[in-house]
């Protein structure tokens, strides 16, 4: 466990040394500030458009931070040859992967806390009643969704050659799942065979990241969802994260490092 923590600690430090988070946070802040300053029919209590667009920017920023951070980890260690002294110490490849995962996941979690604090401040300026429970569920589910994405990106980084290709492919895949994931089965039923079966198999295989997207509920004040449902979604995320990390470890343990 110490080995895992040591590896993840380095990743967390790397996040706050790099400029990615700061740039995305400032960009989100500027755009939200611009939207906040807009005047619609002299009504300063209009808030839902602001919540929706601010959350959208938070989702994009968090996704970019998670994917870019995770995609660079293993290729950078190999490129700089720091992986050799690291693995020469009593640390297994499995611990290395898990350490990298926890580092990226915790780092994105920290970034997420800052983003949601900002979101809370922005909405509090327009709304007297801020639904804390709903926000906590949103951040919790969002964080677990990023856990699945980080694990998937680490798997991608041991398969694809360059971090740029990993980043592009994972961002496209995650974006695709978030936008059309839940409609795939309906789309499949309209298709002839064998496309129908292929699309249906894809539908049941992919991690349904839309489970973790409660933006509509937050924006339109629908209140909290059942905590049991929230727990089940967490278990779903744990299952996919473990699966992807296991796959990453299986590929990485047989991979030549130079």
């Amino acid at each position: 466990m110490n080995n895992v923590w040591a590896v993840s600690n380095v990743v967390i430090k790397e996040l706050y040394r790099r400029k990615d988070f700061y740039v995305l946070f400032i960009l989100t802040g500027l755009l939200t500030g611009l939207l906040w300053s807009l005047n619609f029919f002299n009504d300063d209590r209009i808030v839902r458009y602001l919540k929706e667009l601010c959350l959208l920017m938070i989702w994009i920023s968090a996704l970019v931070i998670a994917v870019v951070t995770a995609a660079r980890q293993i290729p950078a260690e190999r490129e700089q040859r720091t992986i050799f002294p690291l693995l020469a110490k009593p640390i297994t490849r499995g611990e290395f992967i898990v350490g990298k995962f926890f580092g990226c996941w915790l780092a994105t979690g920290m970034a997420l806390v800052v983003f949601y604090l900002f979101f809370w401040i922005v909405t509090a300026t327009r709304e007297s009643n801020v639904p804390i429970g709903s926000y906590l569920q949103a951040i919790w589910l969002h964080w677990w969704m990023l856990g699945v994405v980080v694990a998937l990106t680490l798997l991608g980084s041991v398969i694809f050659v360059a971090p740029s290709s990993t980043i592009t492919i994972i961002l496209l895949a995650v974006g695709g799942i978030l936008i059309v994931g839940r409609h795939l089965h309906h789309a499949a039923l309209q298709l002839p065979e064998p496309s129908q079966t292929i699309l249906s198999v894809i539908y049941f295989l992919i991690p349904h990241l839309e489970f973790f997207d409660t933006r509509d509920l937050v924006v339109h004040d629908w209140g909290t969802i059942s905590w049991v449902v929230c727990g089940l979604a967490t278990l779903y995320a744990v299952a996919y994260t473990t699966l992807f990390l296991l796959a990453a470890w299986m590929i990485f343990r047989r991979k030549a490092l130079n």
């Binding site: 807009l38 619609f40 029919f41 002299n42 009504d43 209590r45 209009i46 808030v47 839902r48 458009y49 589910l141 059309v180 839940r182 409609h183 089965h185 309906h186 789309a187 039923l189 539908y203 049941f204 349904h208 839309e210 489970f211 973790f212 997207d213 409660t214 509509d216 509920l217 924006v219 339109h220 004040d221 629908w222 969802i225 059942s226 449902v229 089940l232 979604a233």
Partner: protein, 293 residues
């Protein structure tokens, strides 16, 4: 082989001549975006109308607190937007016009929504519905509807020729938010972009009749609306009879209240031609004729 200098000079002259020629043509070209004062027009051109439509629909999605079909659920999408039905337009879907909020303050649930979601086809879909708005509600009256306004404003900026945006926004502004000045200002903005619009003139008339209680001005606006309706709709295969009925109905009522019974009868005669209940209108006419005697 001519000298490179001569060739270069020739090419420069050719470029200059073409530039002078093309510049003149470009200035007069209808597709020249640079002539537009709007930055959005310069950037996205005519595709802004598509975005305007998207944002108008988005306002309706907000009206339903996010419970709305996506492009993948088009079969269940409402033919007519509910926010426009409530704002006084005809109800083609026979939609349940329940009050926007009950007295307990609880969001009323509308049970008649076209079931765009249907029954879930698998466990993933069933579980996924926990994370989406899954009840048909309308925004509460008394200010809740203000949330649709930003999207209507953006829609109007993107497509100033879309008349419905102005009338719908003005309806909510004046009836639910008490923002009569803002409603009038927005309608006048719409009228500047669509000077022939009888819909906007009619809505302006309602502002003066129902909110400012200035009958004379309202009558003037309704008459202008009627004139524009005749200019644009007469001779059409399917004229906008609903709005003609609205205009003439309001005019008849106001003229009757003002004691101008002959004029009121004149408008009722016109209303009778498009009303779904001509017998009832005829009764009204008979009553007014009796009063005149």
């Amino acid at each position: 082989m001519p000298s490179p200098r001569l060739l270069l000079t020739f090419l420069l002259v050719l470029c200059f001549t073409l530039a002078v020629r093309l510049q003149l043509w470009y200035q007069n070209w209808a597709g020249n975006r640079a002539s537009s004062a709007s930055i959005l027009n310069v950037i996205i051109g005519d595709s802004r109308r598509m975005f305007a439509n998207h944002f108008f629909t988005k306002a309706d999605a907000y009206f339903h607190s996010g419970f709305y079909p996506t492009i993948f659920d088009q079969a269940g999408a409402p033919k007519k937007l509910h926010m426009t039905e409530t704002s006084g337009e005809p109800d083609e879907d026979e939609h349940d016009h329940a009050p926007a909020a009950d007295k307990s303050g609880k969001k009323p649930v509308f049970t008649d929504l076209p079931g765009f979601m249907g029954a879930p086809s698998d466990w993933i879909e069933k579980f996924g519905r926990n994370f989406l708005p899954s009840e048909h509600v309308h925004l509460e009256s008394g200010g809740g509807q203000r949330e649709i306004l930003p999207w209507l404003r953006i829609s109007a900026d993107l497509d100033p020729q879309r008349v419905e945006t102005y009338t719908v926004a003005a309806y909510w502004l004046r009836t639910q938010m008490g923002k009569v000045d803002e409603a009038e200002q927005f309608l006048r903005e719409g009228l500047r972009a669509n000077p022939q619009s009888y819909e906007i003139l009619f809505e302006l008339g309602r502002v003066w009749e129902e909110n400012r209680h200035e009958t004379a001005r309202a009558i003037n606006l309704y008459e202008l609306a009627l004139k524009q309706w005749k200019n644009s709709q007469s001779g059409k295969k399917e004229p906008d009879d609903f709005l003609l009925a609205q205009i003439t109905g309001h005019l008849a009522t106001l003229e009757e209240q003002g004691g101008h019974l002959a004029k009121a009868i004149e408008y009722l005669e016109l209303l009778k031609t498009v009303s779904p209940t001509p017998a009832a209108i005829q009764e009204q006419i008979v009553e007014l004729r009796a009063k005149m005697k």
